[in-house]
Symmetry: C2
Subunit: 325 residues, 2 copies
């Protein structure tokens, strides 16, 4: 379908704003799938945070994410180093959302020949070190706009299985690894040129952190389904519920100090993890044992897939989506 912002890459549409889009991207993905063969039944293909590949006796995961200047990141507000960090984080977070460990990255960078690659790779290298995810290859090409595609491979401990989006069952509790909306609030302050906003908000937008340790803890704690908050909490929990064919009743959404409730619901790029798990005590024990902040239990899954409530109101599945005809 045609959308008002076709081809628009102006800065007021940059991602973390939680702009509402019609069903463009997800319909496009459905159409794309018709051209592609399915994967073996013990693997995972298109439609989860990462693909799962069985290779002989071992398993590895693959995920790719695009970061486009003017779309996902406004280079008048953040540096190319921040864009590099964010690009790595987006793909590493896909591994976190499977309960996997990021292993290696390949980085494709298209951009004008004037692009400050040193600064971009400063951020990519910093993220590579922070996530212990070595950059082992890449490609460079000229283009009119900076486009970074990071593909990360990931691994699981022997005998472990990834946590998919589709395993949530009625009665499972819904957890989130931390309060939401910080990245969107940070972007709001950057746009307003606020000088006295909390540093944590700016950091959340410029240098978000993938929750790798938390994802592994959730897997060990028996998570039945998991997703990262990249498009927005409402949208991403919606994806999990769609894949699992469940609904949910949420008590509330945890809001990051300084963020608005709307930013917590619809702002993307927080990279907190949302997961379902049957046993609250087990979840809290594993996180405590691993010195991780206890995740917040925000609600429960229900069998009626149409019921998706935040308190007394339907939870809007708002979040980021690109428009495609």
């Amino acid at each position: 379908m045609s959308t008002p912002n076709s081809g628009d890459t102006s800065s007021d549409k940059t991602k973390t704003g939680g702009v509402e889009h019609p069903e463009g991207e997800f319909r496009a993905i459905a159409r794309i799938r018709r051209h592609l063969e399915g994967v073996p039944s013990d693997e995972v293909g298109i439609g989860d945070d990462a693909a799962v590949v069985r290779s002989g006796s071992s398993t590895y995961l693959l995920a790719t994410d695009l970061t486009v200047a003017g779309v996902h990141a406004d280079l008048e507000l953040i540096g190319l180093d921040d864009l590099g960090w964010r690009a790595m984080t987006a793909s590493v977070s896909d591994m976190a959302a499977m309960g996997a460990r990021p292993s290696r990255a390949v980085v494709a960078v298209a951009g004008p020949s004037s692009t400050d690659l040193d600064r971009l790779y400063e951020g990519i290298g910093a993220a590579s070190g922070a996530y212990d995810c070595l950059v082992v290859g890449g490609d460079l090409a000229n283009a009119v706009q900076v486009v970074v595609a990071v593909t990360v491979s990931g691994e699981l401990p022997a005998g472990s299985e990834p946590v998919l989006r589709r395993g949530a069952r009625p009665g499972d509790l819904v957890f989130v690894t931390g309060p939401l909306g910080a990245a969107a609030a940070g972007l709001r302050h950057l746009r307003k040129r606020t000088s006295d906003a909390p540093q944590a908000l700016f950091d959340a937008h410029r240098r978000p952190r993938a929750r790798v340790a938390e994802g592994a803890a959730a897997r060990v704690a028996g998570a039945t389904a998991m997703i990262d908050v990249s498009d927005g909490f409402g949208a991403d929990l919606g994806h999990l519920a769609d894949a699992s064919q469940v609904g949910f009743l949420l008590d509330d959404v945890p809001v990051f100090p300084g963020a608005t409730r709307e930013e917590a619901i619809a702002g993307g790029d927080d990279y907190e993890l949302v997961f379902s798990a049957p046993l609250r005590r087990r979840v809290l024990e594993v996180f405590e044992c691993r010195d991780l902040r206890p995740p917040l239990c925000v609600g429960v899954c229900v069998g009626d897939a149409q019921r998706r409530m935040l308190g007394d109101l339907p939870l809007p599945a708002r979040g980021w989506e690109h428009s495609w005809l």
Copy 2:
């Protein structure tokens, strides 16, 4: 360094033309590497056709390649389906050049919302089928220009080692899997709107074929170093010689019927493989045994890394390179 075509993406610069560029991209890669940690000694990182990752008892390979509309492909001359095929081929060819089998692909597509994704994925899907390389994931984003980043993972038979660029030794023979220049000649005819040029030339530009079976045969036949002809024969053999610290004496370059000698030397995107191997008979036997066209022995490696001769003349290291400051 600054180059005349900074940010230029006009169609007369599209890739297969064999345009000569100053040392932009490769210097940029050298600078980039300073920001990144090295890989374990039994792995392969930046600087070969693909990265080699050891994971427990198994090994997988990773390679990523960008295809940018207006840079690598002119959409006034070829279709989006062809662009999709070419994007898959570039990454699959990286696996071929390691002697590996492509296994899975993740595809990141940025472009205007008007991009005909159906047509693009028709080509991606066709290549996926042709190369037996399942597409297991991807990402979509809006951008002003179509940019496709395909990352392919690859595998080797148990106990086999990949063929790197750096193993050629003085005395090794230099082979190429077929005559060169067809893709560049095809592009020339497309630009001239020639209607009666051989179909094979158009096909070579629109739907080039990665030599996966040939790469595996070369590995089995004892290839000591290998690379695919993506930038141009002169440039790519130069990369192999640089990595191996050898020179070479070539008798001649095999020219595809209808192509010029210059196109055979400097035209990219042929995706034929160039490899070094010590034993001519062994090479011919393995290719024959596998029902593959016999590779052409074009010369020999020598110890003097400065001597890089085609007949009596130095072989120009011409080929495609993107410009970066």
